[in-house]
Symmetry: C2
């Protein structure tokens, strides 16, 4: 049912006429609630406000599935500018990059070159790069990118694991084995938001939650830092309880939530003393990201409806 | 709001004409779903069925706030018969007793005598006694009963802590200090179901949940066995996660649920390998117990409504 809803929304969103109209009326449709600005400079106020309330930020330049090497280079350049802008503003540049945004769908070496350069830039400025995970066609390529980036000297580069995929426990084992030092490994765990083939994913929320928790605990047992990236309060409570039980140091758990989603929960977690980092998208290519937010949570559709009538 | 709902339902339930009608039509009102039989012999089939599906049992002879010493003695005798009946049926007699059922509201020494005798009987037959906790007027007396029973040689007697009361963290510290061996201490933690004065209890569910979790974790850190007695799946997930994190042996956590409430959840927990014990009330004095079940969960009213129309 869950997978069906996700596939339906993403199917409609991917239908060209719908996409055309939606992109034209985007800001009115509520996209602005989830996107902080057209570029890093425009988003700075929002970033500063988040940080003043105890929330760290991770900035994502929107964009994915680019079709040409030139577009991939342009995207990488935009991320490089973002790193610079953040650094100049006194914010350690923690940035997120989608592999297909910098060319993974075109040329693995090109993508690897971009990712390594951006990761080295970010680390040189006291930050780090997070390599996002996309649909299942790119999982193998992304895991390879990650190990190549570590080997290239950007050891703080973090990866993402999607709990809904059946294959993910094996991927986690591979990452643990490949990490130069598992205690320096940093993985973000998410439920997963793409429209995947039903036989590749867990079909119901209970199974996804169980998988999420099992992945987190396995990563902690290996010594990793786990970035629990969900708005599901059950998962937040459950992972925090494990960390208390295991008496792990506070820096082994970071909650990551999306800009504009459950701001009250974001504040509550920060006030309770947890490390909290907000994933802040910037840029104009917001349609795919926005569609996945609608697909994963029916309540987000209310934002769109309010935008249409108001 | 929560406290208000509970007080409203218990207020109506305590109104004499309502109580009179309800007691006459009790079985039709759905009480049978929550009470296994008029006595232990009548409940044996239900007990055997529970045990055959991996659930242990704790049997409670219904009755509370008795008004005379004779009634207290009669109640104690009924509990003694229950211990015998269970033992003869090959079931280790784990039984629950309410302090006011055996005379606490009349005479502390009388109650202490009954509790110690029943606890020694139960332990001699390979079981143990659980001392229930009632409204806040009897908390001090019950804690005293517990330490006297331990001192009398029934060291496996367990106590209950009610998370909604502001005073409970201090009570837990007192129990830990008084226990002959904190590693042999066994406490049941519940949210609390009585209509208490608002200034004595946490007013909202979040605060009660936080208190529940904090009490459990404090007891585990002291080495105790915690009996997590709730149907709240968040609390079940959260406490189990702490136990996994702390790598505690499986016998340090027992889930306790009420007969007839969420049987699917009961089975799921047992199948997942958790220790699960079902609190099975028997007897004819079911009205107070039944009213608290309605007061703590609006969904339980549906059982009553179905009983009235069906």
């Amino acid at each position: 049912m869950l997978n069906l809803y996700r596939r339906a929304v993403l199917g409609v969103a991917g239908f060209a006429p719908v996409a055309g109209v939606a992109k034209r009326y985007g800001p009115r449709l509520g996209a602005r609630r989830f996107v902080a600005g057209d570029d890093a400079a425009e988003a700075l106020d929002a970033l500063v406000e988040l940080r003043s309330s105890g929330r760290e930020v991770i900035v994502d330049v929107l964009g994915e599935y680019v079709a040409t090497a030139d577009a991939a280079r342009a995207m990488a350049a935009e991320v490089a500018v973002t790193i610079e802008t953040l650094t100049r503003a006194g914010i350690a540049p923690v940035v997120s990059v989608k592999p297909t945004q910098v060319g993974l769908a075109l040329d693995r070496d090109l993508a690897a070159e971009h990712v390594l350069q951006l990761a080295l830039d970010a680390e040189a400025a006291g930050g780090s790069l997070a390599l996002d995970m996309e649909d299942v066609r790119y999982v193998d390529g992304t895991l390879e990118l990650l190990t190549r980036t570590w080997a290239g000297g950007a050891a703080r580069t973090s990866g993402v694991l999607q709990a809904y995929l059946h294959r993910t426990p094996g991927d986690l084992e591979a990452l643990i084995a490949a990490a130069p030092d598992p205690r320096a490994l940093q993985v973000r765990i998410v439920k997963g938001a793409y429209a995947e083939r039903p036989d590749l994913v867990h079909g119901d929320m209970r199974a996804i939650r169980r998988a999420f928790v099992a992945l987190s605990e396995r990563a902690w047992r290996a010594g990793a830092q786990v970035n629990v990236a969900t708005h599901d309060e059950r998962l937040i409570l459950e992972t925090a309880a494990f960390v208390r039980g295991a008496n792990l140091s506070a820096d082994k758990l970071e909650f990551q939530l999306l800009y504009g989603v459950k701001p009250g929960l974001q504040r509550t977690l920060a006030e309770a003393g947890h490390a909290v980092r907000i994933y802040v998208p910037i840029g104009r290519d917001w349609y795919g990201y926005f569609s996945r937010r609608l697909a994963e949570r029916p309540a987000n559709l209310a934002v769109v409806l309010r935008g249409l009538v108001g």
